[in-house]
C-alpha cells in the first residue's frame, strides 16, 4: 500500500469517534512510514455488521422481555456484549444456573444479593435491572 492509497473513510458507527489509527505504507521513495487513517470502508463494513447483529438480537430480546417470556438478564447480557459463558464467569455460576435466571419466574425469586451481583456486572442499579421491560423503562 502506498502512502497516497491509505484510506480515510470515517467510521460513523458510534458518536464521538475521532480516533485516527496508525497504519504502515510505502512512500514515493519506497520507504515504509506510519500514516494516520480515519478508517477503511472494508473494515467499517465489518465493524458495523458486528454492531448491527448485536442491535438486532437486542431488539428481539427486548421484545421477549416485554412479552414476559424472558427475564431482563439476557437483555443486559447482550447489551454488555456478553455470551452465556462469559456472564456465568462474571457471576461465578454455572452456565445452566444463569440460564435458569433467564426465566421470569426464577428471576422474580432471585435473592437481593444475586440481583445486586448482576446489577454490578451490568453496571446498572438493581431497580434498573428488575424494572426493565415494565411499562416505559
Amino acid at each position: 500500500m502506498n502512502v497516497n492509497e491509505v484510506p480515510q473513510d470515517p467510521r460513523n458507527i458510534k458518536p464521538g469517534d475521532t480516533l485516527k489509527k496508525l497504519v504502515y505504507a510505502v512512500d514515493k521513495d519506497g520507504k515504509y512510514t506510519g500514516v494516520n487513517s480515519a478508517g477503511w470502508e472494508a473494515e467499517n463494513v465489518a465493524i458495523k455488521q458486528a454492531w448491527d447483529d448485536i442491535d438486532e438480537h437486542l431488539a428481539e430480546t427486548e421484545a421477549q422481555v416485554r412479552a414476559g417470556t424472558l427475564s431482563p438478564i439476557p437483555y443486559f447480557m447482550q447489551k454488555n456484549l456478553m455470551d452465556l459463558a462469559l456472564l456465568a464467569r462474571y457471576a461465578g455460576k454455572w452456565q445452566w444456573q444463569v440460564k435458569r435466571h433467564f426465566k421470569p419466574g426464577v428471576f422474580n425469586k432471585l435473592s437481593a444479593a444475586m440481583l445486586e451481583k448482576y446489577a454490578q456486572i451490568f453496571n446498572i442499579t438493581t431497580a434498573q435491572l428488575t424494572g426493565f421491560g415494565k411499562n416505559n423503562s
Binding site: G16, Y32, A42, I47, R89
Partner: protein
C-alpha cells in the same frame, strides 16, 4: 530512578507499541516494526473449535505477552512480569512501581477502557497499554493506538485488568528493570526472523501458521453450504475485523512486518531482506484485496456460493505466496 518524563508515541499495534515506548523510556530507541520483528509477532491461526462470542477465532499475530518478553530477552533487557489473583494487590503493586517513576505495561480488556471509541470496545482481553503515573486519583495512560495520552479512573482500570473470559489478564503487568549497553541488533534480528519462519512453517497442525490460511480458505468456501446466511456473514466479517481493525497496521500485520524487514535490511546492509520486504508488501496488498472483496459480500448481504469460492481462492493465493516467502527466508545465511 528514572526522572525523564515519559514520552508517548502512537503506534499501530498495542504490544509492539508498548514495547517500543517502554524501551524508548530507558534510552533504547527501536521502532515499532523493529520491536514487532525482533519479537516475532507475525503469525496466523484459525481455530474453528475455539469460539469467541459464537464466532471461530482467527488471529494474525502471536499470543499476547510474547513480543515484549522476546524483545527484552534478545536486547539484553531485564524485565519483571507478574500476574495477580487479588485485584487490590495488583493495584497496590502497580502504584508501588509508578511511585518510583517507572512506566508499567498493563494487559487488559478493551471493553472496560472508556477512553477508547465505543465501536472498538468488545470483550477483547489482550490489549496492552502503559500506565506512567497517577494524578488527582486517576491513572495517566499512554495507549499506543491512541494519538495522545489519556487518563482512566481506578475503578475502570481494575475492571479491565481483571476482566473474565478468554484469555484472562489476571492483572498482568510488566516493566523494565535493567538495560545493557551490549546490544547485538544483528543477532536479535536473526533470531526474530528465524522464529517467525519456524512458527509459520513448523506447526504440524492445520490450525496454526501458514497451514491455517488454507484451513480458513477451505472453511470459507464451505460457509454458504453449511451455515445460515447471517452466520456465514458474521464469521466472514470477524475475519476482516481481525485483519484490519485497529492494531494491525493494515493487512493483518503484514505491512508492519514488511516495514521491519526493510529497516533490518537497511541496518544490516542486506539487499535480500529488502527484497523480502517488497514481496511481503505485495502480499499485504493481496490480503487487503481479500478484505475488500469480503466486505463487498457483507455489504451485498447475500451469500452466493461463487463469491465465497472466489474469496477462498484469494486467501489461497496469500497463503501460497507466504509459504514460498518463509521457505526462502528460512534458508537465509547469517
Amino acid at each position: 530512578m528514572s526522572n525523564t518524563p515519559y514520552l508517548h508515541h502512537q503506534h499501530a499495534h498495542c504490544e509492539s507499541g508498548v514495547t517500543s515506548n517502554l524501551l524508548a523510556h530507558e534510552g533504547i530507541s527501536i521502532s515499532e516494526p523493529m520491536a514487532f520483528g525482533i519479537g516475532a509477532g507475525l503469525f496466523f491461526a484459525h481455530l474453528p473449535m475455539l469460539k469467541v462470542s459464537g464466532v471461530p477465532g482467527t488471529t494474525y499475530r502471536i499470543w499476547p505477552g510474547a513480543i515484549f518478553k522476546r524483545v527484552a530477552q534478545r536486547l539484553n533487557v531485564t524485565i519483571h512480569a507478574e500476574k495477580f489473583s487479588n485485584p487490590d494487590k495488583a493495584m497496590q503493586a502497580l502504584d508501588a512501581v509508578l511511585a518510583t517513576g517507572k512506566p508499567v505495561g498493563i494487559l487488559g480488556s478493551v471493553f472496560y477502557l472508556p477512553y477508547l471509541p465505543e465501536a472498538f470496545r468488545f470483550h477483547f482481553n489482550a490489549h496492552n497499554l502503559v500506565a506512567y503515573g497517577k494524578q488527582d486519583g486517576e491513572y495517566l495512560i499512554s495507549d499506543p493506538i491512541m494519538e495522545d495520552v489519556t487518563r482512566i479512573a481506578p475503578a475502570d482500570l481494575v475492571k479491565s485488568r481483571f476482566a473474565k473470559g478468554v484469555p484472562e489478564p489476571r492483572g498482568y503487568m510488566y516493566y523494565i528493570t535493567g538495560t545493557s549497553k551490549d546490544i547485538d541488533m544483528a543477532k536479535a534480528i536473526e533470531q526474530g526472523i528465524k522464529q517467525t519462519c519456524f512458527f509459520m512453517l513448523g506447526p504440524p497442525l492445520p490450525w496454526f501458521g501458514n497451514k491455517a490460511i488454507f484451513t480458513l480458505a477451505n472453511r470459507i468456501s464451505d460457509y454458504p453450504k453449511k451455515l445460515p446466511p447471517r452466520k456465514a456473514a458474521l464469521y466472514l466479517g470477524n475475519v476482516v475485523r481481525m485483519q484490519e481493525e485497529i492494531g494491525t497496521g493494515g493487512a493483518g500485520f503484514r505491512y508492519i512486518y514488511a516495514a521491519f524487514l526493510q529497516e533490518a535490511g537497511q541496518l544490516l546492509k542486506r539487499d535480500d531482506l529488502i527484497a523480502f520486504s517488497e514481496r511481503l508488501t505485495a502480499i499485504g496488498d493481496d490480503w487487503r484485496h481479500f478484505a475488500y472483496s469480503a466486505a463487498r459480500i457483507l455489504k451485498a448481504r447475500q451469500s452466493d456460493i461463487v463469491s465465497y469460492d472466489e474469496l477462498s481462492e484469494l486467501l489461497r493465493k496469500c497463503g501460497t505466496q507466504e509459504k514460498e516467502l518463509f521457505q526462502e527466508m528460512r534458508k537465509l545465511k547469517w
